[in-house]
Subunit: 563 residues, 2 copies
């Protein structure tokens, strides 16, 4: 199976996704992909029960993982990519990591995950809480409310709202629901930082995850202890004694590969391991962006909008701005749409798919796609507000919901499909407009991620709706490439790179697929976008309350079995 031996310097990128880890070996001088290997997590996403023989059932909104899976899958993926790529172990000069976030766990002081301790094996709160574990919504709402009441300035860096996906709501959930876990845990940390700790023996925190998901700021530090105390009396002690203090920017060397791991992986001991980065944020680097005014859309089940700038500006409607969050010396701005790929999947899986299973899903998708592609803008007669999972940016309101208007007895599924695509494109245009109106011009637009790679129609719709050229990197694995870029930075000159900027320039290809707006389609979309904005404002907070009313009535009924 082994290929020709490759010479030169390579960086190992480890891309920890929701279902699997991908290992890539990337040449540090030109960015060529020498090898790639994917290994699923043995227990995947646990959303119904704990793994193995455990009978413990999980409530809805839960999503856990087994931290041992990360190490096991990483071992197999790395060994395989070394074997199949023909890269000599000595050619691997550094290791970079990107990871979903906030994916967090409680651990002992030596790094042992609490879920690996026999006494806590049947305790759901002892396991890794995956980014999409949404059971901490009440805690998130309380954290927002109290921050507003106390006029905490940190909240403005997060667009005024704390997400249930973030670190502190998840810790609060453990404190409240499983005080024994909270009491016995000696560390609370991001899974990405835990993996780097396992590999290097040193506990470091990434400024990316700490900044975007855990209220940390390079200049302002953390919110005051009083705030944490108002959330829970035990929280200040957790913050001061059970969470890492050494926060470093992604790509800085976290440490050297421990001899034990070096043996297991077949790599030189001491190989530099970079401080990790969040997966969507790695896409910025993998897309070849390291400067200002270029927005990267990382498009998957949801979309992240990322933009770098030299200054900090409190932008309304963003989900976070973090200094050193993506690249040292820059402020990384993040906005988002909470349902994009998920929205299309909803139409196909929940509404259209046949009752007898998901096998036809791919067929339905491709039929919808080819029919939707033949529609001209405006031909469906439909317009939608893409808020099926709430509106993350620019309204920061998870209580909003989806709307379709223009339905007639002739409306067909592919017309709805296209209307949903257009709605997400208009949501992105609204975000760009908001950034620009607040002094952050978007001169170039890049798209990356699974949806961007697989869906040319979607890119054309985005280009036509925004009236902008959209650039898609030729590499299909921009997150993993971003991780490899960080590995080369951790290695440093002369074999690696002296800075993230230098590594991005060297390791990403300027050539990329470009989708340009069709000038004939602009006028209709201009008009439709006007209507979208009118509806947007009509149902935004301050407008008609029907979306909130419906949600509130529904929750009340679901909570009352006698209603």
């Amino acid at each position: 199976m082994s290929r020709t031996r490759r010479t030169g310097n390579f960086s190992l990128g480890l891309d920890f996704g929701t279902e699997s880890v991908r290992a890539v070996l990337v040449g540090t001088s030109t960015g060529e992909m020498a090898g790639e290997s994917v290994q699923s997590y043995r227990s995947g996403v646990m959303d119904e029960s704990l793994p193995g023989r455990s009978r413990v059932r999980l409530p809805p909104d839960w999503a856990l993982q087994d931290p041992r899976d990360y190490l096991q899958s990483l071992k197999e993926a790395v060994r395989r990519v070394l074997r199949t790529s023909g890269v000599k172990p000595g050619g691997v000069i550094g290791i970079g990591i990107d990871f979903t976030s906030c994916t967090m766990l409680p651990a002992l002081g030596d790094g042992t995950p609490l879920s690996a301790v026999r006494a806590f094996r049947d305790e759901p709160h002892a396991w890794v809480k995956l980014w999409k574990h949404h059971a901490a919504q009440p805690q998130a709402d309380r954290a927002t409310r109290i921050a507003l009441e106390r006029r905490e300035p940190f909240l403005s860096r997060y667009g005024g709202r704390i997400s249930s996906e973030w670190m502190f709501p998840k810790i609060l959930e453990i404190l409240e629901k499983a005080p024994k876990v909270a009491g016995n845990a000696e560390r609370f940390l991001e899974a990405q930082d835990w993996v780097a700790w396992q590999l290097t023996g040193l506990e470091r925190r990434s400024s990316c995850a700490a900044g975007y998901k855990a209220f940390w700021s390079k200049r302002a530090g953390l919110p005051p202890a009083d705030y944490f105390k108002a959330l829970h009396p035990d929280l200040p002690e957790i913050v001061s004694r059970k969470m890492g203090k050494t926060v470093l920017p992604p790509g800085q060397k976290a440490g050297g590969l421990l001899p034990g791991w070096a043996g297991v992986l077949g790599l030189p001991p001491g190989t530099p391991v970079g401080v990790p980065i969040i997966d969507a944020h790695a896409a910025v680097l993998g897309s070849g962006v390291s400067g200002e005014n270029e927005m990267v859309l990382c498009m998957g089940t949801s979309t992240c909008h990322l933009l770098l700038d030299r200054k900090e500006k409190p932008v309304r409607g963003m989900t976070g701005v973090v200094e050193d969050g993506i690249i040292p010396g820059s402020f990384g701005y993040e906005a988002g749409q909470a349902a994009v790929g998920d929205l299309f999947a909803w139409l196909v899986r929940s509404i259209l798919a046949k009752p007898d299973g998901p096998r036809e899903e791919a067929g339905i998708f491709s039929r919808l796609e080819s029919r939707a592609a033949r529609l001209r803008p405006g031909e469906s007669g439909l317009l939608a507000l893409d808020w099926w999972n709430g509106n993350r940016s620019i309204l920061m309101d998870a209580g909003l919901s989806g709307l379709i208007v223009g339905l007639t007895l002739n409306t067909k599924p592919h017309e709805i499909y296209r209307a949903l695509m257009e709605a997400t494109a208009m949501g992105t245009r609204r975000i760009i407009q908001e950034f620009e109106s607040q002094g952050l011009p978007v001169l170039k637009l890049h798209a990356a991620g699974g949806l961007a790679e697989k869906n040319p129609l979607l890119l054309q719709v985005y280009s036509d709706v925004t009236g902008r050229e959209i650039r898609v990197p030729r590499s299909r694995q921009v997150c993993a490439l971003g991780a490899a870029i960080l590995g080369s930075v951790a290695a440093g000159s002369p074999r690696g790179h002296g800075s993230v900027h230098e590594a991005v320039r060297a390791m990403t290809s300027p050539g990329r697929i470009s989708v340009k707006p069709d000038p004939g389609r602009g006028a209709v979309y201009e008009k439709l976008y006007g209507s979208y904005c009118r509806l947007h404002d009509a149902f935004a907070p301050g407008g008609d309350t029907v979306m909130k009313d419906l949600r509130e009535i529904r929750s009340r009924i679901l909570a009352d079995p006698k209603a």
Copy 2:
């Protein structure tokens, strides 16, 4: 096959629907159903091409019928019901007719349909235009505009808008698109009047169809010749010379059965034939309603709301008010919802049904039904405006469209199904509210028609949403029963009845199914109805124009192949 001989007096009701004619024999003293027979029209609804070997294709929005089918199907249905019911020919004392409307045709002076004349066989405009032939929309719009410009008072009897389904838009379409047909036609008439003419040899017009569909009023007559001239220079001559002048109320004797037809049908020559009635309006009689303050919902693909009153009040948002339109001496008020059964069929057929055919439709309907029945009010989290086919009442605006709000990634088809049911129920509540606010109290609510007979969940939703008891007649064929009632009135005393009131009292059963509102559900629906009304007004004319904008953009694009 023949049953025991039945004695007594029976009326033959002929119910001409969209696809078939139903013949019933009903005892005139107690209303017992002695027999029933249905015969489909050979050519059904022609919406793709003319019948037989003709290659003539029809554009979208067209819907034609072959007038010979009415006579052929009537002959077979009547013969069969006589044979199987055991009623002796001499026991049949009268014939009543109900019919879809405005279903019209051009004919020669002797009653020969123009489509039966060899020279016009391949001319689509020579055939019967079925009620749902919608190609005369431009003519209808022009007729409305000119009536508004001229401030024609007749328009207020029709809620301010002329429908493309009515008589004059259809005549105008013939005048403009097929002047040869218009020139050669010697009569333009309702198919119901044509059938009665065939049976009796006398050309009479029903005040029901003339009033609701052709601008006629007992007191005001027709609009002035100048108005017709403004629509088309040749129209005044058609009105004065080619349309019947003898307008009689339904149930009055139109004439006696011609000997030729008596032989064909096996009935006594001279059997009284009553002046016909529109099918939905026959449901009022068949539901046992002949007095004031009782609204009948005739629920099928669309819903008609019918109410009798002794006075004429120009009610906003109705589709028509006609003196003698249903019962002599009363004003019949009509309002309507343009898509009800059609809306549920859209969800199942156009959105959910599997690509491999309509066989599973019934299964999908019954699954949706049982799941939707388990939902509590408000549990779906959805709210819809039921305007998929425009809003007939109370907004009289065919350019409006459907809207759903509250959609989430968890929304399921049965939740949408229930939301659509609730939306049509709220539309009906809005209509009742409008009637009541204008001095027409609705003290009792009746439901009839296919949807009411087959869908107990729908009735419960209507009852819960309106907060009213809903009565459903025990007879399943209320339209045909209404026709038979008119046949007994045409026969007159002593074998039949001296008045429609008397016949309704004698021939309908006071016992009926009653659906009562569940008091526990009222509060939630009260709240949801408030939201519905807010959305209703927000998108009504004068509110947000997005529905009109989308429709206008779509029409412009469809009209321009290069767009």
